[in-house]
């Protein structure tokens, strides 16, 4: 079966309008978490978020599109910006006879727009949010915007969504159904999401401290992260630059509880184990792990236990969620890009805000930028509600 090569990537998040800005923020330890500026919520003064610091109109302007009728939700706008960058970088406007698809992911759909106009009376309905509400809408908007008419689909499995989209896209290529595909995900901030997570009491009102002994919870974020993956044959035909290879992946289920992860980290352990197997790698081959590391009491402990289960010696690892916030449906895609950047630049990005690393584990996350390690293989975790655990492994080409 074909190898899977990464030929492009694109992202917009709280730490950058594109990947170049994003990398700069990662290197200079600049977090995107801040007091709420964009979201119109009753909790404005209560929480911090990692928002993309543009209004919807500004996002539409960046894309050069007219959004007077609000047919583009914030989710769609963020998705299109990230996907466009990936498309351009991968030069998908060429070799259009190759079968091209879009597999995107998100959790909130167009809720940012739905909730704003939901109570408008039927007669005054200026926005037909019924059309933009579903998860599939932003994927379709990406495809239409970029002129892609082939295989398109959307995955929604909570916080593992975009990692799963990447996996599905890779398998579609391996099984000869597509030659190349834009894969990743997006999520935009909404009151629904903010309030929903608040009911679970897992939000940190201050800047989050994932992997800290005294962590209080997560900060929500928004954005998109897309990569372009292609078959060996497609890359050979176009002779384009390859940034990395997607060498392994797996999805497993914790089957423990709707929202909590098992303390033994069963699902996480299975996902990492199976991903390593699929990549034909040993745990000792991994140069760096970008952990899911949301900052909740439960996740970091559970994930740490899983790391201990798999690795005799846990390699350097960090979570980047104190930079970007937890971008939910976009997390897997954004962090896939971080994994690829780590490989291309031989960098390990630091964990921010750690004062006291988790005591239970003898292994500690990296708190300083590391430039001294050769990064060959990166493992990236994304774990979602419903026990949906996914692991991706990227390797240098």
């Amino acid at each position: 079966m074909s190898k899977i090569f990464v030929t492009g990537y694109g992202s917009i998040s709280a730490i950058g309008d594109n990947v170049e800005q994003t990398l700069d923020a990662l290197i200079t330890k600049k977090s995107g978490v801040a007091p709420i500026q964009i979201l119109d919520t009753a909790h404005k003064d209560e929480f911090v978020l990692a928002e993309v610091k543009y209004t919807n109109d500004e996002l539409a302007q960046m894309l050069g599109i007219n959004n007077k009728d609000k047919t583009y939700t914030r989710t769609s706008l963020l998705a299109m910006i990230g996907a466009k960058e990936a498309y351009s970088r991968a030069r998908l406007d060429q070799d259009t006879d190759l079968r091209t698809g879009v597999i995107s992911a998100n959790t909130g759909g167009g809720m940012d727009t739905t909730e704003r106009y939901y109570k408008t009376t039927m007669a005054e309905q200026i926005v037909d949010f019924a059309i933009t509400h579903s998860c599939g809408d932003s994927t379709e908007k990406i495809a239409s915007f970029l002129g892609i008419k082939g295989f398109t689909s959307t995955i929604s499995t909570a916080c593992s969504s975009s990692a799963n989209a990447i996996m599905y896209g890779a398998r579609l290529i391996k099984h000869g159904r597509l030659d190349r595909v834009i894969v990743g995900g997006v999520d935009s901030m909404s009151k629904f999401t903010l309030n929903g997570f608040n009911t679970l009491m897992i939000l940190d009102r201050q800047h989050c401290q994932p992997w800290d002994e005294n962590r209080r919870g997560l900060n929500l974020g928004e954005g998109s992260g897309y990569i372009v993956i292609e078959s060996e044959a497609a890359v050979k035909k176009s002779n384009k630059k390859v940034y990395a290879e997607l060498t392994g992946y797996a999805n497993a289920n914790d089957a423990y509880h709707q929202t909590a992860s098992s303390p033994e980290g069963n699902g996480a352990t299975l996902a990492m184990k199976q991903a390593l197997k699929s990549a034909h790698l040993n745990p000792s081959d991994i140069s760096y792990i970008n952990v899911h590391g949301t900052g909740t009491s439960n996740n970091d402990q559970s994930e740490g236990t899983a790391l201990r289960n798999i690795f005799d010696k846990v390699p350097p690892f960090s979570t980047t969620k104190a930079y970007t916030g937890h971008t939910l449906g976009a997390a897997g895609g954004i962090e896939a890009i971080f994994s690829i950047l780590a490989i291309n630049h031989n960098l390990i990005f630091p964990c921010l805000n750690i004062e006291t690393p988790i005591q239970e584990f003898e292994f500690k996350p990296e708190t300083e930028l590391r430039k001294d390690v050769e990064i060959k293989h990166v493992l990236s975790n994304s774990f979602g509600f419903g026990g949906n655990n996914s692991t991706l492994i990227f390797s240098e080409h």
């Binding site: 879009v102 109570k119 059309i131 629904f192 289920n253 089957a255 979602g384 949906n388």
Partner: protein
């Protein structure tokens, strides 16, 4: 490599659940939208778990349980679900409460249950199933995306049994949000008149269908799943090309097809496009409908899959779905074709055989 449909179960607006009769007992609905015939869920789901299951989860879990029972499996190698709109009841509950209470005094349950992968997750917890678990939420091809995922697993030989489902629920509130978009019928039409009415709009509905796909044939086998193909956007000429590509890749021509299930839903223009399509390629074949049974919704094609499977097993076309009688005596190869009604995109072809 063959994929066998070894168990299948559907809850729909007709008595299709847990019954041996195959669309002979028909309820003559006459309403602007149709909802499922509710079974006594306590008989099929542990009553203690029901309290945290809204309508869509109950439908999903009940049909999943029945399909697995029929196929005699209790731990599938993968659980893959497709839904167009997800958990509407809980989404509305949380959203409305949030707006009414101005973002105070909100409770977690409806938020958690509104996440799209809830049905798949609940099934996994109930079964203690640690295996692959995906949820697709993409318009009219959510179920087909799930089928393609399953097919790839079988091709990899990484699965013996896969549980695949297509579910969508309808609420009155959701129905009302689309009143202005002109996609619903203006009046309550009898389902037996649906295709004669020749007016604009359709009758929406809801259903849940779960199937167990297996790598081995057993006495419970209904039919074989051959292949699935989807396209995001295509005009008539392009869809014809896609059809031929799909059939050729499965070593078939249009003459080999005995039955075609079409996604006609009562909207005059939409239905005409299907009839034109059939006229171009399948003028001698049996043409069947299914949305007069389950109503229009993104996962209606999962119900079509149920209809096709049962039909292949019984070698019989129920009168209620027979739109146009064809020439074939033997029902061997069945094609399902449909696409999204609201946006006229997301086309899907599914091929089953005896």
């Amino acid at each position: 490599m063959s994929i066998y449909i070894n168990g299948i179960s559907s809850i729909s607006p007709q008595p299709t659940f847990n019954t041996h009769q195959f669309l002979t007992e028909i309820i003559e609905h006459q309403s602007k939208y149709i909802v499922v015939e509710k079974p006594n869920y306590k008989e099929f789901i542990n009553p203690k778990l029901l309290r945290r299951m809204s309508k869509i989860i109950r439908m999903g879990v009940a049909t999943a349980n029945m399909a697995m029972q029929e196929a005699k499996i209790d731990n599938p190698d993968a659980i893959i679900t497709g839904t167009g709109l997800g958990c509407i009841v809980d989404t509305e509950k949380f959203l409305n409460t949030m707006l009414e209470n101005k973002e105070t005094l909100l409770t977690p349950t409806s938020f958690i249950l509104s996440t799209h992968n809830t049905v798949g997750a609940q099934i996994a917890v109930m079964l203690g199933c640690n295996n692959y678990n995906y949820t697709y939420v993409h318009s009219a091809v959510s179920f087909e995306s799930s089928l393609i995922d399953a097919i790839m697993h079988f091709e990899d030989q990484t699965a013996k049994h896969i549980l695949v489902g297509g579910i969508d629920e309808l609420t009155e509130e959701n129905y009302n949000t689309k009143l202005n978009s002109g996609i619903w019928k203006n009046e309550a039409i009898k389902i037996s008149d649906l295709y004669k009415h020749k007016s604009e709009g359709c009758i929406p509905g809801e259903s849940s269908t779960f199937t167990v796909l297996s790598s081995q044939k057993t006495e419970s086998t209904y039919a074989e799943l051959v292949d699935v193909h989807t396209v995001f956007e295509a005009n008539d000429e392009e869809i014809d090309k896609e059809l031929y590509y799909f059939l050729e890749r499965n070593h078939l021509s249009t003459e080999d097809i005995d039955v075609v299930l079409l996604g006609i839903n009562g909207d005059a223009d939409y239905d005409q496009s299907y009839l034109d399509f059939a006229h171009r390629h399948f003028s001698n074949q049996h043409l069947l409908s299914y949305k007069n049974i389950c109503g229009e919704h993104d996962s209606a094609s999962a119900f079509a899959f149920w209809t096709a499977s049962k039909m292949l097993k019984h070698q019989h076309v129920p009168e209620i779905v027979e739109y146009k009688k064809g020439k074939s005596q033997n029902l061997e190869n069945v094609l399902i074709y449909h696409y999204n009604f609201m946006h006229r995109n997301n086309h899907a072809f599914t091929l089953l055989k005896r």
